[in-house]
């Protein structure tokens, strides 16, 4: 039942491809896409493209995770910082940062750095905002108890605030991680000489829709794998509050 919907979509696709109503260049059969997928995994240069995208996405995400969690926790515990940063993050959250990519290219160059910088910026927002709400909503009774027992600010942060905000922090990560993959692929489609986005554009420009769809499948698999790893890590670290997802 878990994959029933995927099966229905695949069947509908195959029926369309075999109907003869559309050119196979627009709707290639699943068999052709699968063959291209096998080819993809058998070529070292294709795997290298996947690695390049993964590295860019993860670099930007990791930077955003460090900066975002720090900023979110500080905002959650400091009224002054919250009043300073909250309008900035809330006010510019809806801005599509992708529009800034041409400027990023001029600042950071056309290589990986401009893409990593954009991933960082896109991932920063959900991580900061969700962490901030997690840190702000820590149970006051726990804070008072710790203070009564003589805990300092550092100990309270380490032992109370961060563990209490951890489920929110991971929720932010879970929102940001697919964003990282999406941004990397789009920026590689716009201007790149490597990566999965470039591979998809190359296939599309070569009118190889089956190859392009195989790259799309690879991107989905990478996204699924990253999410699975994140949920597993969360369940290990936040063991007192396991996620009720399809993975557990």
């Amino acid at each position: 039942m878990r994959f029933a919907l995927i099966g229905v979509v695949a069947l509908a696709w195959e029926a369309t491809a075999r109907s003869g109503l559309w050119s196979p260049l627009l709707f290639p059969s699943l068999e052709r896409v699968f063959n291209e997928l096998i080819l993809f995994f058998s070529r070292s240069e294709s795997l290298l493209q996947a690695w390049v995208s993964l590295y860019r996405a993860f670099a930007g995400f990791a930077l955003a995770a460090v900066a975002g969690v720090s900023a979110g926790i500080l905002m959650g515990r400091s009224r002054f910082l919250a009043s300073l940063l909250d309008p900035l993050f809330s006010g510019t959250y809806a801005v599509p940062k992708l529009a800034l990519f041409p400027i990023f290219i001029f600042i950071f160059g056309i290589g990986s750095l401009s893409k990593v910088a954009l991933v960082f910026l896109e991932c920063l927002y959900p991580i900061v905002i969700i962490t901030y709400h997690g840190a702000r909503d820590v149970n006051r009774v726990l804070l008072w108890s710790a203070q009564n027992l003589g805990a300092g600010r550092g100990a309270i942060l380490r032992r109370i605030v961060i563990p209490a905000a951890a489920p929110h922090i991971f929720a932010g990560f879970r929102v940001a991680l697919p964003v990282a993959m999406i941004v990397v692929v789009i920026t590689e489609m716009i201007s790149s000489a490597d990566g999965l986005g470039y591979a998809a554009m190359y296939a599309l420009s070569s009118l190889k829709t089956d190859r392009m769809l195989a790259v799309v499948v690879v991107i989905s698999l990478v996204g699924l794998l990253l999410d699975w790893m994140l949920v597993n890590l969360r369940d290990r670290l936040v063991y007192w509050e396991k996620l009720d997802t399809y993975y557990v």
């Binding site: 001029f106 056309i110 554009m201 599309l204 070569s206 009118l207």
Partner: protein
């Protein structure tokens, strides 16, 4: 009442039957002046509205144009001849019917230029080793010329020199700021950058390939060619007439295009820019396309097997 309804339906069908066939035409945004002029100056096209109707739809790139054609949203369009060869090799049923312009040698013609910083370390194409070259899109004509230029200099594209897709408007600043080592320049960007100074041409589309060759062509879907041959003939008769007008009255034609919003470059500047070679007859240089197909097969491996270019070009619809 029933009789009146039937009468209405009859007359609607009769009116529809008298309507000339509509050509849904996918156009681009550069070097297609004669084609645009057909919509801007319908007074130059006596057959338009009588033997065919024309609806021009703007596309930014070839793959989108070809996909629209495959989806049944286009009947014809413009595209580089090499892109049509490539599409035909993939099974897209389209045929080249006329030439729009060529990359040609000669002071009187413009040919796409690859430029570097004048005061930079790159003195020849060979110096691009370890650098980057900007092209407007993957597997476009600009990509082909760049790769052939690199291969001519003994460099392997992607390995020795990265080939980056980038929009024409960004090329000048990208080269000047050192973000890319060389960029592709077409009019009007070429003239604008030359006016600013500080850039130098290291090779051109014409000397990269080594001979004059087709740049842009008009293609039609084979189904439309078979279903509406008279409409295609009428369209091409008008196209040739407009091309002749354009060549004889270039300044006026450019002013009209500018006024209609087809060109955004300031008019005085647009009037001064040099132009690609355009043949008054609209006839296609098939030999140059054959040579390009061999280049795509042997030098670039863009084609999987040899193609029959003669079967991809049909000039019988052009006026004799």
């Amino acid at each position: 009442m029933k009789f009146l309804s039937l009468l209405l339906v009859f007359f609607s069908f009769a009116a529809a039957a008298q309507e000339p066939p509509l050509i849904r035409f996918g156009r681009g945004f550069a070097a297609e002046e004669q084609v645009w002029l057909m919509s801007v100056r319908p007074d130059l096209t006596p057959n338009q509205g009588k033997k065919y109707q024309l609806k021009q739809i703007l596309f930014q790139a070839n793959p989108e144009r070809f996909q629209a054609f495959l989806a049944g949203a286009l009947d014809a369009g413009t595209a580089p001849g090499l892109a049509v060869i490539f599409a035909r090799a993939q099974g897209v049923d389209m045929t080249i019917v006329a030439s729009i312009c060529l990359e040609a040698a000669g002071r009187e013609y413009f040919t796409t230029a690859y430029m570097v910083k004048d005061d930079g370390p790159i003195r020849s194409t060979r110096d691009l080793k370890g650098g980057t070259i900007g092209v407007v899109g993957i597997k476009t004509a600009t990509d082909l010329w760049a790769r052939v230029g690199l291969l001519n200099a003994g460099l392997v594209p992607d390995r020795d020199t990265k080939v980056f897709p980038m929009g024409f408007p960004a090329m000048g600043d990208a080269v000047r700021s050192g973000k890319i080592s060389a960029g592709t320049f077409v009019e009007p960007f070429y003239s604008a950058e030359m006016a600013k100074g500080g850039l130098r041409t290291i090779f051109t589309a014409q000397n990269s390939v080594g001979y004059d060759h087709e740049l842009l062509n008009i293609w039609f879907g084979e189904k439309f060619l078979k279903a509406q041959p008279e409409a295609v003939r009428a369209f091409l008769a008008d196209y040739v007439a407009v091309t002749r007008y354009y060549l004889a009255n270039t300044a006026q034609a450019k002013s009209d295009l500018h006024k209609a919003g087809f060109v955004r470059t300031p008019l005085p500047f647009y009037l001064k820019t040099s132009d690609w070679k355009r043949t008054a007859s609209g006839r296609v240089d098939v030999e140059s396309l054959k040579k390009l197909s061999v280049l795509m097969l042997e030098k670039l491996q863009w084609l999987e097997k040899p193609v029959n270019v003669d079967s991809m070009v049909d000039q019988s619809y052009l006026p004799r």
